[in-house]
């Protein structure tokens, strides 16, 4: 039985949405925080390096914005939304394993503006995402 290592919080205004590429985004005050899901970090294995974009980088939805290198492979990261990068998680430089240990909290990757909030509606809710991963695991 798949049990999440950490539970994504659903506080008011911070409902997590998911992409089919296992990234999550949670928007608060117009800023989206992006990370990878527990499913993804498990599949990836121990992350040894996070390659993240510069602050100010403009991203379109689906753009490749960085990569995670794990013992398994170098794996590309794709932007769930369009917007501009406002912050990157500096803690990951020295501690890339945070992505595995705390993928929904301390292991967040980037923060970005939300250029088009309609794009959020295209993403999966947490329930839908859980169903999705069950289906692909089969």
């Amino acid at each position: 039985m798949w049990a999440p290592r950490s539970i994504s919080s659903t506080r008011r205004g911070r409902a997590r949405k998911f992409t089919d590429k296992h990234e999550w985004v949670s928007v608060e005050n117009g800023i989206g925080t992006v990370g990878i899901s527990d499913f993804a970090q498990e599949a990836l294995g121990d992350v040894v390096y996070c390659s993240l974009p510069e602050v100010g980088t403009k991203l379109s939805k689906h753009d490749e914005f960085g990569a995670l290198e794990s013992v398994k492979a170098a794996s590309e990261l794709y932007s769930p939304l369009s917007g501009e990068v406002t912050e990157i998680n500096a803690a990951l430089a020295d501690n890339p394993g945070l992505v595995n240990k705390s993928c929904y909290q301390d292991g967040w990757l980037i923060k970005m503006t939300v250029a088009n909030s309609a794009e959020l509606d295209e993403l999966m809710t947490e329930d839908a995402y859980e169903k999705y991963i069950k289906s692909i695991e089969d």
Partner: protein
């Protein structure tokens, strides 16, 4: 030759005296895939490989504008056996095959040669039996290759390096003297239906009509071109339908992983001196040294089917089938070890949106002397969170068994891949410079060679070291601290004894270094320029040169 050298990085180097990649393989038919040719060069015998450097028989080809006679995919799947007739032989069973049509023409026939037929054409015709005409120096229409020859033919000609045997005048069937060739054209066209598809949608056709598996081998030894092929397949091929094994070898090059620091990983000075290329690949992992005695294998699959262990076990199985006495096994680090001790293969991988690739090296007959020297970094005081290599003792398979050559190993692995994927044992040669077959590939190769990619992608690092400069009768200790980001100097502190250099000159140096590439050439230019505005003072110049030489040595 059992010594495998000192504690070495993950490097595989190969003697540059290895035979050419293009020499005939013992057991595989190698066919060249060229968008402009209808694919197969030689189908005279399905069992002999050919070297693209010798003139190749060419299937006839038509202008792209001619509409395809029948739905493409079906025909392509029904493409006949190599040396057989020109007729489709029905749906194949089993694994897919590369849809490369056979050369047409099985019957020996003679052209009703007219005096005007060029010598080459007549020569070519006599070789038709069971194959296709040899290429002659001139167009069969009697004219030499010219602008009026369709691009297809000229392209083919340029790809193979040999002139086409004939030209198609205008857009129609050639009005040439040789009806046999005319028949061949028609015949081969039936088998070349995918060709028009290639020309209409080049990236789709050759790559997507095969189902099952595809084994391709690069004719290039250029590391950037070969890495570009990987990128291309990763970006453009639909791997749901098929999986690909890509075989390649490079002339001497050091290849670092996606997130590595070349200053930490290798002796850049020595690389420059020896003209050894430096490449950064897009997969993760550590640094390796390639040369022609190292073979590279890339396994392309969907992301779901990504399975490195399976691939490596396939290689081990192939090696053991070849030489049962070989003690080779896969570790849980995805290395292949020989005699439980020596690394002969290292692995790296990339996971994309829907597709993935796993590539690995295999040490056949490397120049371990070069390997160990280029992989030893002389740079001190580097601090970075870049992914480090894990050094390993290495050995060549050739040292274990001198009868093993790169070609033999490549063939054995391809054979095992074919068996495991239930496909035909065909290796398709591809030319990474072929923009028609691989649209956009030259841009990919270019990007891989840019300074921004090779050096600029280095994760931020710092240099903290002390220059001990022998000057006159003493040693001047100069502490240097630099931060390098995107390959450029972001912060620069040079702790010189007071007044050792005029303050203004010193500050110009530091100002000039900041923002400039951490690169000896760029720094040389900078310091030369600055020196020009200095007073003509020998003492000053010698101090300046001493300092700058030492600074440049850090890069």
């Amino acid at each position: 030759m059992s010594h495998c050298g000192p504690f070495q990085r993950e490097q595989f180097c190969d003697s540059v005296t290895r035979p050419s990649l293009l020499s005939p393989a013992p057991s595989f038919a190698r066919r060249r895939a060229c968008a402009g040719t209808g694919g197969t060069l030689d189908s005279r015998s399905a069992r002999t490989a050919h070297s693209p450097t010798t003139p190749q028989p060419s299937p006839a080809a038509r202008r792209a504008q001619r509409p395809p006679p029948a739905p493409l995919t079906r025909e392509a799947e029904n493409a006949p056996e190599a040396a057989g007739s020109g007729e489709p032989t029905g749906t194949r069973t089993g694994g897919g095959r590369a849809p490369l049509p056979a050369a047409p023409g099985t019957a020996r026939s003679s052209c009703s040669e007219a005096p005007g037929c060029p010598e080459s054409c007549r020569q070519g015709l006599s070789g038709i039996a069971g194959g296709a005409p040899r290429l002659g120096p001139a167009c069969c229409c009697g004219k030499s290759m010219s602008a009026s020859c369709p691009p297809l033919i000229r392209h083919f000609s340029s790809v193979t390096g040999a002139p086409a045997a004939f030209s198609v005048s205008g857009a129609g069937i050639p009005s040439i003297c040789c009806p046999v060739i005319k028949n061949m054209v028609l015949q081969s066209l039936k088998n070349c239906l995918w060709l028009s598809c290639v020309l209409r949608t080049p990236k789709a056709c050759f790559w997507s009509t095969a189902s099952g598996g595809l084994i391709i081998q690069s004719v290039s030894n250029d590391v950037y071109q070969n890495l570009a092929v990987e990128d291309w397949i990763h970006d453009h091929m639909d791997l749901e339908k098929q999986h690909v094994l890509f075989l390649w070898r490079n002339s001497p090059a050091v290849v670092i992983g996606r997130h590595q620091n070349p200053w930490q990983e290798c002796n850049l000075r020595l690389l420059r001196q020896k003209n050894i290329k430096l490449a950064r690949r897009r997969s993760g992992g550590g640094t390796v040294y390639h040369d022609l005695g190292n073979i590279n294998l890339t396994f392309f699959t969907t992301r779901k089917k990504y399975e490195r262990m399976e691939n490596l076990k396939l290689i081990v199985k192939a090696l053991k089938a070849l030489r049962p006495q070989l003690d080779v096994h896969v570790t849980d680090r995805y290395d292949i070890l020989l005699d439980r001790q020596y690394k002969i293969s290292g692995t790296a991988a990339k996971l994309g949106r829907t597709s993935a690739y796993h590539h690995c090296t295999l040490l056949c007959n490397a120049d371990k002397f070069v390997l160990s020297s280029v992989l030893r970094s002389p740079y001190k005081g580097l601090k970075s969170n870049a992914t480090p290599s894990v050094p390993a003792s290495v050995k060549n398979l050739f040292e274990e068994d001198p009868s093993l050559t790169s070609e033999i190993l490549l063939d054995a692995i391809a054979k095992e891949y074919a068996v495991q994927h239930q496909m035909d044992h065909h290796i398709t040669l591809i030319n990474p410079a072929d923009e028609t077959l691989l649209p956009g590939i030259s841009n990919k190769a270019k990007e891989l060679q840019t300074w921004e990619w090779v050096y600029g992608k280095t994760p931020k690092f710092s240099v903290s070291t002390c220059l001990n400069m022998a000057y006159k009768d003493s040693v001047v200790d100069v502490k240097v601290n630099m931060d390098v980001k995107h390959g450029r100097i972001e912060v620069c502190n040079i702790d010189l004894p007071e007044q050792w250099l005029p303050p203004r000159l010193y500050s110009e140096l530091v100002k000039g270094l900041i923002g400039s590439k951490f690169c000896p050439n760029e720094t040389t230019t900078l310091v030369t320029t600055l020196l020009r505005v200095c007073p003509q003072d020998d003492e000053l110049h010698s101090r300046w040169n001493l300092l700058c030489e030492n600074m440049i040595r850090l890069m």
